[in-house]
């Protein structure tokens, strides 16, 4: 319920954007509060790394604050925000030169999880499964991964994804199709017994 309300608030943040465009920092703070979790989770799925996700989210909102006055069509705010986030994700990705990702498997306390095979606890298995999927998601090519995150987790229409990425709808669908196929292969090859 809370998430639904949050989503409604996100899509009705028009007045906050207008105030932010006039330099109202308080309104911008509220706008950030509405979008922060979404952008963080987008970045987290892109990198699979909390620190990088936080870094990109922070940088995104700094740039948005600096450039929000240049946004002409307020209805495009959502896509504009994703564009900026994606640019930062790619920039950060290049800067780190695709380091070997490992942090997704590191627990909050810094320790590594126990063996993934034969653990009877369902909750633990769920977490393990989520961690594995996040890991596999990172292995996908950038363009497939981006479309998959936007479609699957951000709930965007193919037309909207095409707009953000400046590609055709068919290309977006094709990328997602090959992304899902690649993920299926990776899941089949994974050491867990998740049969596809």
């Amino acid at each position: 319920m809370a998430e639904v309300l949050e989503n409604i608030a996100i899509y009705h943040s028009r007045s906050l954007i207008e105030k932010s465009q006039k330099g109202d920092e308080h309104a911008y703070g509220k706008l950030v509060g509405l979008w922060y979790k979404r952008i963080y989770n987008f970045s987290l799925k892109y990198f699979g790394d909390h620190d990088l996700a936080m870094e990109v989210t922070q940088q995104t909102f700094i740039v948005v604050f600096q450039k929000i006055s240049t946004l002409r069509d307020i209805d495009q705010f959502r896509f504009w925000l994703y564009k900026i986030t994606l640019n930062h994700c790619r920039e950060e990705d290049r800067r780190h030169n695709r380091k070997k990702w490992y942090s997704i498997f590191v627990q909050d306390d810094g320790s590594m999880p126990e063996s993934r095979i034969g653990n009877p606890e369902v909750e633990y298995q769920k977490k393990e499964k989520a961690a594995m999927i996040a890991e596999l998601l990172k292995r996908l090519p950038d363009e497939q991964k981006t479309v998959m995150i936007m479609k699957e987790f951000e709930g965007m229409k193919f037309r909207e994804i095409a707009d953000v990425l400046n590609i055709s709808e068919n290309t977006a669908k094709s990328r997602l199709y090959y992304g899902l196929k690649a993920l299926k292969n990776l899941l089949e090859k994974s050491e867990l017994n998740y049969k596809i």
Binding site: Y40, N41, M54, I62, V64, E152, F153, K181, L183
Partner: protein, 277 residues
């Protein structure tokens, strides 16, 4: 799977971006093409696996968007460089604050023959402490002596005041006793008083009984009136009911009469028909 359009359709179907007509057509196509169905099932399963990856909760940090310089300090590299400086800076700042506050409050630490002393203000030497002890003793003795004098003076004053008040009270009591002795109670007065009291009581009782009797009569009268009304009402209801029954009976009789006439007419008609036949 005849052409490459299946990818587009498959994804539109998978992510519910088809119209109802398109959906139906695609479902028919899947029924006919098992390879297409298999492909759809595989993608659907991968999609459901992706559903296992949920959003994480996160708190937005202190707002720094209006100060990019501060935000840039969050850079990972810089963060590593300054990370060790933070505790040193914090300790140094704390020490400076402590020193400043100590200076303002004259905070001092000293060692005497009695041990370590930490406190505010100058620390006294052993001699000063001894001298101060004698001074304090003398001051306490003077204070006690002064207090005793004051106390004795107050007790003396209270005693004389109490003596005089007691004497006055004793005098008043003696006077009162003497005047009471002079007033002897007369037996006739007492008799008259009792008789008067008895008469008043008797009159009061009579009045009370009379009042009660009147109230009871009124109550009884009201009750009888109400009972009469009730009986009248009942009677009216009974009469109405009887009247209704009579009307009903009359109607029933009329109907029965009509029915009898009809039966007789039929009978006559039947007899006539047979006789003519």
């Amino acid at each position: 799977m005849e052409n490459q359009d299946f990818k587009k359709e498959l994804l539109d179907y998978l992510y519910d971006e088809m119209t109802s007509g398109e959906r139906t057509a695609f479902e028919v196509k899947m029924e006919q093409d098992q390879a297409l169905r298999k492909e759809y099932e595989a993608l659907k399963q991968v999609k459901s696996q992706l559903g296992e990856l949920h959003d994480k909760d996160v708190m937005e940090p202190f707002p720094v968007w209006s100060n990019p310089a501060a935000a840039n300090r969050r850079n990972v590299k810089n963060r590593k460089e300054i990370i060790w400086l933070r505790p040193v800076t914090a300790v140094a700042a704390s020490l400076l604050i402590l020193m400043f506050v100590g200076y303002l409050t004259n905070f001092s630490v000293s060692i005497t023959s009695q041990g370590w002393h930490v406190g505010y203000g100058a620390i006294a030497t052993d001699k000063e402490i001894k001298n101060r002890g004698d001074e304090i003793k003398e001051l306490v003795a003077q204070s006690i002596e002064q207090n005793n004098k004051l106390l004795l003076a107050k007790i003396g004053a209270s005693d004389s005041s109490f003596q005089s008040r007691f004497a006055a009270l004793e005098n008043n009591v003696a006077k009162e006793l003497a005047s009471n002795k002079a007033k002897a109670v007369d037996a006739n007065d007492l008799k008259n008083f009792l008789a008067e009291l008895e008469t008043k009581n008797s009159e009061m009782w009579k009045g009370y009984l009379k009042l009660t009797s009147i109230q009871q009569q009124e109550y009884f009268k009201t009750m009888l009136t109400q009972f009469n009304d009730y009986m009248q009402e009942q009677r009216n209801e009974d009469l109405t009911r009887i009247q209704n029954n009579l009307v009903e009976l009359k109607e029933t009789q009329t109907i029965q009469k009509q029915e009898t006439d009809q039966v007789l007419t039929n009978l006559l008609a039947t007899i006539n028909y047979r006789s003519n036949k």
